[in-house]
Symmetry: C2
Subunit: 344 residues, 2 copies
C-alpha cells in the first residue's frame, strides 16, 4: 500500500510500504477513505531531524473496516468508522474517567508504525477506539465527520475543559482550524461574547460564521489591550489557547478574568511557564486542557453533525489525493490552505 513518510524537515513522500496486518485479537484493519493534514503535522515539517527510515504521518481518519481480530465485538467488515487521533481500550480506569488520551493501553497514531495518511490503517483496541458511522450516512457529511477524529473535538475539548457556558465571554487565541473549531464549540455551549484573536481575514471570516462576535487582529500588548477593552476591563471568563507557543500563553494569562480559566489545546512548545502570584495565582485563574479526549466526546457530538446542527468540516478548504499530500503540507505551511482533506 501507499503511505506518507516524512524524512526530515520539509521532506514528505508517498511511498509503497507493507500492508498492515491484524496482530492482536483486538485490532481492526481499516481501508482509509478520508484523511487530512493537521496543524500539528507542521511542527515536524519545520524541525524533524533527517532520518533514513522516515516517520509515518497522519492521525485523523475515516475508513471502512476490512478485517477484525477475534476479540472485536462492536465492529464488522464493511462498517464505516471514525478513528480518533489516539487509540484507547475504553475499559481502563482513565478511559472510564473520560481521559482516553491517558489510557493505560493507549497511544497516538502520529509517528506510530501504522498512521493515517495512508491507504490502510491498523487500529489497536478497535472496540474502544473506533466509532461506527451509521449506515447510509450521506457522503457529503464525511468531511465534518472526519473533524471528529481530532480538529473539531480538540476545539470542543478546550471549551469543555474550560467549562464554557451560557452568557460567558470567551476569548479564542489562534485562527487555525483548531481555534475556529473552538469558536464553534464555544458558540454551541452558549457563550455570549466570543473574541477570536487572529490576523488572517479569510479564517476569521469563517470564525465569525462559526459564532465569533469580535475579531482582534492585534497581537501582544496591543491585542491584550483590545480584549480588555471589549470586556470592559474585566477580562475573559474563559480563554481557549489553540496555538501552543509562549506568546499565546502570555496573552491568555493576561486577558483571563479573575477566577477565570485558561484552557490549552495547542500542544505546548515550552515546558516552564509563569504560574505564580503575578500570573495565575494572584487572580485565582485556572489552567487546564491537554490532548483532546476526543473518544470520550465522539458519540455525544456525532448526532450534531448527522442532523446538521454543526458543520465543522468547513475548515477544509482544499482536497487533494494521497499522491499529492506533499503539496497539502506546502499549502498549509504557506497558509495558502487552512486544512487539506486527503483522499487515499
Amino acid at each position: 500500500m501507499r503511505a506518507t513518510l516524512m524524512y526530515g524537515s520539509g521532506d514528505v513522500r508517498v511511498e509503497e510500504v507493507a500492508d498492515p496486518v491484524i496482530g492482536q485479537p483486538t485490532d481492526a484493519l481499516v481501508r482509509v477513505t478520508y484523511a487530512c493534514v493537521c496543524g500539528s503535522d507542521l511542527h515536524p515539517y519545520h524541525d524533524l531531524e533527517s532520518t533514513t527510515e522516515g516517520r509515518r504521518m497522519g492521525h485523523e481518519a475515516i475508513g471502512v473496516v476490512e478485517a477484525v481480530g477475534a476479540d472485536v465485538t462492536t465492529l464488522a467488515v464493511g462498517d464505516t468508522v471514525i478513528v480518533p487521533f489516539a487509540w484507547s481500550d475504553g475499559t481502563c480506569a482513565f478511559c472510564q474517567d473520560g481521559i482516553t488520551t491517558s489510557c493505560v493501553h493507549g497511544g497516538f497514531f502520529d509517528g506510530a508504525p501504522s498512521a493515517t495518511q495512508a491507504e490502510k490503517l491498523l487500529v489497536p483496541y478497535a472496540d474502544g477506539t473506533a466509532v461506527k458511522v451509521p449506515e447510509g450516512t450521506d457522503e457529503s457529511l464525511m468531511p465534518s465527520l472526519l473533524t471528529l477524529s481530532d480538529v473539531y473535538l480538540t476545539g470542543y475539548h478546550a471549551a469543555s475543559a474550560g467549562n464554557v457556558g451560557p452568557g460567558m465571554t470567551v476569548t479564542v487565541i489562534g485562527d487555525g482550524a483548531v481555534g475556529l473549531s473552538a469558536v464553534l464549540a464555544a458558540h454551541q455551549m452558549g457563550a455570549e461574547t466570543i473574541i477570536l484573536m487572529g490576523r488572517h481575514t479569510d479564517r476569521t471570516d469563517l470564525g465569525k460564521e462559526f459564532g465569533a462576535t469580535h475579531v482582534v487582529a492585534e497581537r501582544g500588548e496591543e491585542g491584550i489591550a483590545r480584549v480588555m477593552e471589549i470586556t470592559g476591563g474585566e477580562g475573559s471568563h474563559v480563554v481557549l489557547e489553540a496555538v501552543g507557543h509562549m506568546p499565546a500563553y502570555e496573552q491568555a494569562v493576561a486577558v483571563v478574568r479573575p477566577g477565570g480559566v485558561v484552557s490549552r489545546v495547542g500542544v505546548p512548545q515550552y515546558e516552564d511557564a509563569p504560574v505564580g502570584f503575578a500570573s495565575l495565582f494572584g487572580k485565582n485563574a485556572t489552567l487546564t486542557g491537554g490532548p483532546a479526549t476526543v473518544r470520550a466526546y465522539l458519540e455525544a457530538v456525532l448526532p450534531q453533525v448527522l442532523d446538521g446542527t454543526i458543520d465543522p468540516g468547513r475548515v477544509f478548504d482544499r482536497e487533494l489525493p494521497l499522491a499529492d499530500i506533499a503539496e497539502a503540507y506546502r499549502l498549509m505551511d504557506q497558509r495558502k490552505a487552512l486544512k487539506v482533506l486527503i483522499r487515499p
Copy 2:
C-alpha cells in the same frame, strides 16, 4: 494603641502607635479581641529587609465594632465581627463572582497601614468585608471562628477550587495549619481517601483526627512513590498544595491523576513552573487555586462552626498576649507551636 511591627528578618516588636480613625464613610473601627500568627507571616520573618519604619503585621482577626462610618449599614457598635485577611466591597463584578480577593476596591491587611496584630483595626468597606458573629455566641467558639478569617477557609478554598467531592482520593501536601485545614475541608466534602504528606507526627496526628486516612512522611521521589502505591498506581484525583515551594509543586504534579486537579493555596515562592506536555498538559491535569476567597465562603461555613460540625480552631496549640507576640513568631518558626492565638 499597641501594634505589632516587624523591622526586619526575625525582628518583631510591639509598640505604641497612633489609634486608627474612621477615614471613609464605609470604614469600621474594630477593637481586636482575637488575632493570631499565620504561617505566611514567617516568610517576612525569614527574609524581610530591615527598615526604620517597620511593617505592620497580621491579617486574621475577630473584634468588637467600636465605630462605623456614615455609610455602613449592616454593622453596629458592639457587634462582634470576623474580619477576613482581605477587604472587599462586596459589590464589584469580581465580588459578585465570588473572587473577593480580586475586588476592585480590595486589599490585604498584611502590611497595610492598619493590620490585625494590634489592639485596634480599621476595616475598609466594612459592609462588604466583616461578618457579624451572632450575639450570645459562646466564647469557647472564638478560636474556631477566628480560623474563618483565613486558615480554615484557605484550606477550604483549596478543596473547593479543586472540586473535591464524595468518593475522591485527595492528597494534601503540607502539615501546617493550612494543610490540616485542607484535610478537614476535604473530609467535609466527602473525600474517601485523604493522604496527608507531612513529617511532624504531632501535626499529622491532628490531621488524622481531621479525616486523613493515610500519612506519608517521606518526601521527594520516595513520597511520590508512596502516594502512587496507596492510589494503586493511578494517582490522586485532587492534590491540595499548602506549602508554596517548588518541591511541593513538583510532588503535586507527580501524584495527580490524569484528568485530576492540583489546587494551590500555599503562596508560590516561584513564578515559573513546569506546565508542559511532561507535567500538566500531557495528562490533562488542571492547575487552580490562589488567595482564598474567604469572604465568599464565610457565611455558608459559619453555621458549621456554631453548631459544632467542625472545630477548625484545634490548629491553635498555644495562646499568648499581644505583648509576647515575638515569642509566638519564635515558637512557630522553630515548629514548637503549630499556630499561636494572640489576645490583644
